[in-house]
């Protein structure tokens, strides 16, 4: 026991906590005790810490009442062994010691974490390594690493390809349209829902507008096709009913973007509104009362109380949306494509799929995909940086 000098160890003091009367909420049950109830000093100890403990063993209303038995016994022994490391000048352990201690103590946690970490390494990071394919001329027999390097040839090919401008234009136009139309609508929906005090109607609108979010992409596209079908589709039946000619909506390249964007809004507006509604419910109610006393109309309250209140949320969602402009979903566009609207509907992601997997041109497709990911990453950092500079909110 003499070697305790210059060692760091923890003394756990179990303090008895009187059982509370009445209903015991979790917050109250686990709130830290205010004054030290028991004060212990161990001789010849330069560094010591007192930790107070009280708990409810089976998460019901039972508490530990004895502290002393733990003091000399199990806990001390264990802590001394585990913390048998010298301290640096600041009184803290070095990083390596910290790691060793944590590892010895929590080896089970490190064991648990292995399978998911392996998952990320294999299915997320290994593909990133494989992306060197973009700088090689892939040869099935030689494999990824055996294939010859070709530098930026694949990128050069892509930039020289007349498809490049079409793809870039289509990708940016579709997602730009989606951003312009799809971003404000959930905010408006949330603001309107927030005005409504009739609980039932509000809940009904929320429930119904949220529902399409659960429809799968395939079903969504099926619905679009059924509604816009040239002959029997609901839209054309309605048009004919009012004396207009039928329109082949999906065959018109010029209509493709609108169909894509507005069906997307139909599907996700209710879902996206939830986050703004949550932000709105966090606004201090006294602000509304003050506004009302000052004679503000409902519209003025929206402009001067609601909007400033949810501005940080709006900024963050905007950053995320702009940051994913190039990562526009492949799934829905691919299903909506046909020979007639391909001029406007071919985007980078669908092109990568066709060139890479259908035509087996691996290197070229990887280069195109990599280019897309990089642009996206740069966009996200730029927007986040701008937001950090001009407003106070950013995603990291």
């Amino acid at each position: 026991m003499a070697c305790w000098n210059n060692l760091c160890f923890f003394v756990h003091v179990c303090a008895a906590v009187p059982r509370e009367t009445g209903k015991c909420t979790p917050e109250r049950r686990f709130a830290p005790p205010k004054p030290p109830i028991l004060y212990v000093k161990i001789p010849k100890c330069t560094c010591w810490e007192v930790v107070f403990f009280y708990y409810d063993q089976s998460y019901r209303k039972r508490y530990h009442t004895s502290g002393a038995s733990y003091l000399g016994g199990i806990v001390l022994e264990k802590e001394i062994v585990l913390n048998n490391k010298t301290l640096n000048k600041k009184g803290k352990r070095s990083l390596a010691d910290e790691a060793v201690i944590s590892f010895k103590k929590h080896w089970q946690l490190y064991l648990i974490v292995i399978p998911p970490v392996l998952f990320f390494l294999i299915f997320k990071y290994y593909p990133m390594l494989n992306a060197v394919l973009a700088f090689k001329d892939y040869n099935v027999i030689k494999g990824i690493w055996g294939s010859p390097w070709v530098g930026f040839k694949n990128f050069q090919l892509f930039f020289d390809n007349p498809m490049f401008w079409t793809l870039a234009k289509n990708t940016i136009l579709v997602s730009g349209y989606l951003l312009l139309a799809g971003f404000p609508i959930p905010i408006l929906l949330a603001l309107m829902l927030n005005e409504i005090r009739n609980g039932r109607f509000k809940r009904l609108v929320q429930l119904v507008t949220f529902a399409p979010y659960f429809i799968s992409t395939v079903v969504m596209v099926s619905i679009i096709m059924l509604f816009l079908a040239p002959r029997l589709g609901f839209a054309n039946v309605a048009l004919n009913y009012f004396g207009f000619d039928s329109v082949n909506f999906l065959g018109e390249a010029s209509m493709f973007r609108s169909i894509y964007v507005w069906s997307d809004i139909w599907q996700t507006a209710g879902y996206s509104a939830v986050i703004y509604l949550a932000a709105l419910s966090g606004i201090d109610p006294t602000l509304y009362e003050a506004a009302k006393v000052d004679g503000a109309s409902r519209f003025q309250k929206i402009v001067h109380v609601d909007l400033p209140g949810i501005l940080p949320t709006i900024t963050i969602i905007l950053i995320l949306n702009v940051g994913s402009v190039m990562a526009i979903g492949f799934e829905k566009i691919y299903l909506l494509q046909n020979q007639l609207n391909i001029v406007n509907s071919e985007i980078i992601a669908t092109y990568v799929y066709k060139i890479g997997l259908l035509n087996a041109n691996y290197s070229f497709a990887t280069a195109v995909g990599l280019f897309n990911s990089l642009i996206n990453l740069v966009l996200l950092f730029t927007v986040n940086g701008l937001a950090k500079r001009f407003t106070k909110s950013s995603i990291w």
Binding site: H12, L109, L193, F299
Partner: protein, 306 residues
């Protein structure tokens, strides 16, 4: 809400009445929201009605809102088609197995990440979050899956996309915020190991987040088609969504309506599309009103920064 309560408590003559402009404003809001409600719910009702109408009513455009000449012929044909039933079975399998794998893996990484005493948790968290921002891309991922021999096997739909970063973040912030450190320290004194603690303390206390994880992964698996499209070749492994795609979007219903007469076949293939949509979406949509709050909860937990 709070202002409404206060208004109720105060005597009537002291409350400020809505002005004329405000009342008009509210009428406008109610009108717009009602229109939104109709715009969202109408297509859903229309499809449901069409699916239980007679084939001829559907093809002649007589269905407007409610079903015409109610018949369940479409569903009957669906349930008699082996291709569709197989797809249904496959989808059920992928959903159940995939969700189990995903939830287990997510908890396995999210819980240690939530513990302050876990050394290197910020590093691992950054590694994970980075995969959200940048990925190797379609082809390199395909090559990895191929290397592991998963192409054209059921594993391809269960493993390569098993863990979603977003779910890890949600689960981690739940564990962090709702499981107090005191609980752990206390059980440590009693000689409780980390795994035991996870089993008998963390998991029972985390039912809400487990519900969220199960639901989100479940719906995701049920609705997914992209992985199946790129990794699967044999049609006996196809999930329902791929079967749907070939029948509705690629208009390839020959296998379903083989034996029928020309006219009847055409009418039926229209009806089948509606029935298929209903059959594929109903499991999720029926469940939805009961579980909506969990989804909302999940989104809100995730929106907590950090």
């Amino acid at each position: 809400m709070a202002s409404a309560k206060i208004a109720m408590q105060t005597p009537k003559r002291q409350t400020i009445k809505d002005s004329m402009g405000d009342r008009i404003f509210m009428i406008v809001i109610y009108t717009i929201l009602t229109l939104v409600l109709i715009a969202v719910i109408y297509p859903l009702i229309y499809i449901l009605s069409s699916s239980i109408s007679s084939p001829s009513a559907v093809t002649s455009g007589r269905v407007w809102l409610w079903p015409v000449d109610i018949s369940f012929k479409g569903f009957k044909v669906l349930f008699d088609t082996p291709q569709i039933m197989q797809g249904y079975g496959n989808s059920l399998f992928y959903t159940v197995a995939g969700t189990m794998i995903s939830v287990v893996l997510t908890v396995m990484i999210a819980y240690p990440m939530s513990r302050k005493s876990f050394f290197g948790r910020t590093v691992i968290m950054m590694l994970i979050t980075f995969t959200m921002l940048f990925s190797g891309g379609l082809i390199p991922t395909y090559m990895v899956v191929k290397e592991f021999g998963m192409i054209d096997s059921r594993w391809a739909l269960l493993i390569p996309n098993a863990v979603w970063v977003w779910q890890v973040i949600i689960a981690r912030s739940f564990f962090q915020n709702s499981i107090p450190d005191e609980l752990f320290e206390a059980s440590e004194i009693d000689g409780c190991s980390d795994i035991r603690f996870m089993q008998s303390v963390v998991l029972p206390l985390s039912k809400p987040i487990l519900a969220v994880l199960f639901l989100m992964y479940g719906v995701g698996q049920w609705n997914a088609y992209f992985d199946a499209l790129i990794y699967l070749k044999s049609s006996n492994l196809f999930p329902l969504q791929l079967v749907l795609r070939s029948i509705i979007i690629m208009n390839n219903s020959a296998s379903v309506t083989d034996a029928l007469k020309q006219v009847e076949r055409q009418q039926l293939s229209e009806l089948l599309k509606y029935s298929l949509i209903v059959v594929a979406t109903l499991p999720v949509l029926i469940m939805y009103p009961f579980v909506q709050r969990y989804f909302v909860q999940g989104m809100l937990v995730g929106s907590v920064k950090g």
